[in-house]
């Protein structure tokens, strides 16, 4: 049985149903991300697990115990908020020790645990400082230490990196993951940043309009998107409308060429998708070639993103910037190559 189980969870605010039949099983020590755009219900799910929102229906179990009726302070959870939420009147050490003090833990045990936690986050010398004397990244580290100090069963992270600048965000996400692995704590991470979700998680839940559209490993989510929404939301994806010429062999007509997918397809018109990195300028070594002309060239430094028009449908792809090779020009006729096996058939 899974450590954290969420079954048929639903939540409505008035007539507005924001979470619909949400199911998720999280194993002990697993790091699962809830990924989705604003308003998709991911934070509401997290808040229901924390106990800050009462579900309209459904069950939340932690280590076999149904916690839906328990108040937030009765659940063994640690939470890190986007806005840090450190207590301004307490020092760093007092903040970290707050949860233990509330529990009535002896002073010497609190001191030892606070020292351990501060050392874990690399702020052992800053225990006597007040939150306002710390940078954003340091404050979020303290918030993490504070959440972990009482040894909660589940760690909930509500967009903890969103308020930080890009460089700190990158280093802190590696730190969070390393600490989570070291402690082996079951973690749910809410984010709208796909890069964060893909790089940190054991599994990703892509949410859309209150529904878990797809649950899978980052590799599966990126390479085998189950729905059109997941395909469009995670990474950049080109979609191409194609006519199926032979449903048995997967022979299709694409704008600018034909492809043989080598697997059965539904008859009629279908939507295929391809990641930009799967498409090359020139068809050498590829089993499918498509003819088109360049409509846009964006120089991004190490790569050049090019957009081509294929019989009225647009296709974006990347090439590496090679200093002695000039990028193609707008209007230039080109042949694009790809392998038919890389084409994804997109469902609804």
């Amino acid at each position: 049985m899974s450590f954290l189980t969420i079954e048929h969870l639903e939540k409505s605010f008035g007539p507005n149903k924001v979470v619909k039949d949400f199911n998720l099983n999280v194993e002990k020590g697993e790091f699962v991300s809830l990924l989705g755009p604003s308003g998709c219900g991911k934070t509401t799910v997290l808040r229901m697990v924390a106990g800050f929102e009462q579900p309209s229906s459904g069950r939340i179990g932690i280590d076999g115990q149904d916690v839906v009726r328990l108040r937030p302070n009765q659940r063994s959870i640690g939470m890190v908020f986007q806005a840090y939420a450190l207590f301004p009147n307490l020092t760093v050490a007092q903040n970290v020790g707050f949860g233990l003090k509330v529990k009535g833990t002896p002073r010497n045990v609190i001191d030892a645990r606070v020292a351990e936690m501060l050392s874990l986050i690399g702020l052992a010398d800053l225990g006597s400082r007040y939150p306002f004397q710390l940078s954003g990244g340091q404050q979020q580290r303290v918030a993490l230490a504070r959440a972990l100090a009482p040894s909660p069963q589940v760690l909930l992270l509500d967009e903890p990196l969103s308020a930080l600048d890009a460089k700190i965000r990158l280093s802190l996400r590696n730190e969070i993951r390393a600490i989570q692995r070291k402690l082996g704590i079951t973690t749910i991470f809410v984010t709208h940043d796909q890069e964060e979700a893909l790089s940190m998680s054991d599994r990703v839940v892509v949410m859309h309009q209150g529904i878990a559209d797809q649950v899978g490993t980052p590799f599966d989510i990126y390479n085998k998107p189950a729905t059109r929404f997941v395909a469009g939301f995670v990474g950049t994806l080109n979609t191409l409308e194609a006519d199926v010429l032979d449903p048995k062999t997967g022979h299709v007509r694409l704008p600018g060429g034909e492809a043989r997918l080598g697997r059965p397809l539904p008859a009629g018109r279908i939507t295929l998708a391809a990641r930009p990195e799967m498409i090359t300028l020139g068809a050498a070594g590829r089993d499918t070639s498509l003819a088109g002309h360049i409509t846009e060239v964006d120089f991004l430094g190490s790569v050049i993103r090019i957009r081509a028009d294929l019989g009225g449908q647009s296709l974006a792809f990347d090439t590496f910037n090679i200093s002695h090779v000039s990028p193609p020009k707008v209007g230039e006729k080109v042949t694009l190559g790809l392998n038919a096996a890389d084409l994804l058939v997109i469902g609804d």
């Binding site: 939470m79 207590f87 009147n89 707050f98 918030a143 504070r146 009482p150 909930l156």
Partner: protein, 260 residues
């Protein structure tokens, strides 16, 4: 020209406010003919009735502050956290003491809680003191509520509460260890205003026949020449000291920057 005009208006304003105070202070020092002396102050301080009424009002002020804080902080916290839609109504209610004269309130009290009522509070000293304290709390409600509400506005009440809850804290712990310390400066501002109001309040104390400082001030004013002015100066010093303390507390609060 514009600057000169502004300075002139400021000077006129200062003169308008300060001149009567100087006159009052000067008169309070003129008890002995021909020289300035502190005789009036000595007489006032030596008066056992002064010490008794002053002491009584200080105790009542402290009790009012404690009651006001216990009433207002949880109310303002709860309204901000869970019932923001009720805020306009609560604000309206807290403003009522400003538009309903104290005399109306105290007559209402006497009518409701007289010795023949179902709750005869005026029938005992303790009951009347309690009634007076509640009356003082009502009078100071607009200031106390606004001060606390402004203090709560400077912190993220919802997130701090949720953070404390996730760490195992119950409501009392949250209020005592998280909310109160972070609105302490605001609470103290409200407390000092309350203190100043109680020390100078006349109507309620007089009509409930309690030995407070306000009625004593009035009694002295009606019967003596110099002493009332000395008392007025003392009352002003108390008020200013309270305002100074508000400033001091604000300045020396260690973590005020973090409340943003």
């Amino acid at each position: 020209m514009k600057r000169f005009l502004a300075a002139l208006i400021l000077l006129l304003g200062i003169t308008y406010f300060v001149l009567p105070l100087i006159g009052m202070a000067e008169f309070s020092l003129s008890m002995r003919r021909g020289v300035y002396s502190l005789d009036a102050y000595r007489k006032v301080i030596a008066d056992p009735q002064f010490r008794q009424t002053f002491g009584y009002s200080v105790v009542m002020a402290l009790l009012t502050i404690v009651f006001g804080v216990l009433l207002v902080v949880p109310t303002a916290f709860w309204v901000r956290l869970r019932m923001p839609h009720l805020r306009p109504y609560v604000e309206f209610i807290t403003l009522l003491p400003l538009v309903i004269p104290a005399i109306v309130v105290v007559f209402g009290y006497i009518r409701l809680y007289n010795t023949s009522s179902w709750l005869p509070l005026t029938g005992s000293t303790f009951g009347t003191n309690l009634l007076l304290m509640l009356g003082y709390a009502t009078l100071s409600l607009p200031y106390m509520y606004r001060a606390v509400d402004t203090g709560l506005r400077t912190i993220d009440v919802a997130t701090l509460t949720e953070a404390a809850q996730s760490l195992g804290a119950g409501w009392i712990t949250i209020l005592a260890r998280v909310i109160m310390p972070n609105v302490l400066v605001a609470v103290l501002s409200g407390a000092f205003v309350t203190f100043a109001i109680v020390m100078g309040e006349f109507t309620m104390a007089a009509l409930l026949n309690r030995p407070a400082f306000g009625p004593y001030l009035q009694l002295m004013g009606a019967n003596k020449a110099y002493e009332p002015f000395a008392l007025a100066v003392i009352a002003f010093i108390i008020t200013w000291a309270c305002m100074g303390l508000i400033q001091l507390v604000t300045r020396f609060s260690k973590h005020t920057k973090a409340a943003r």
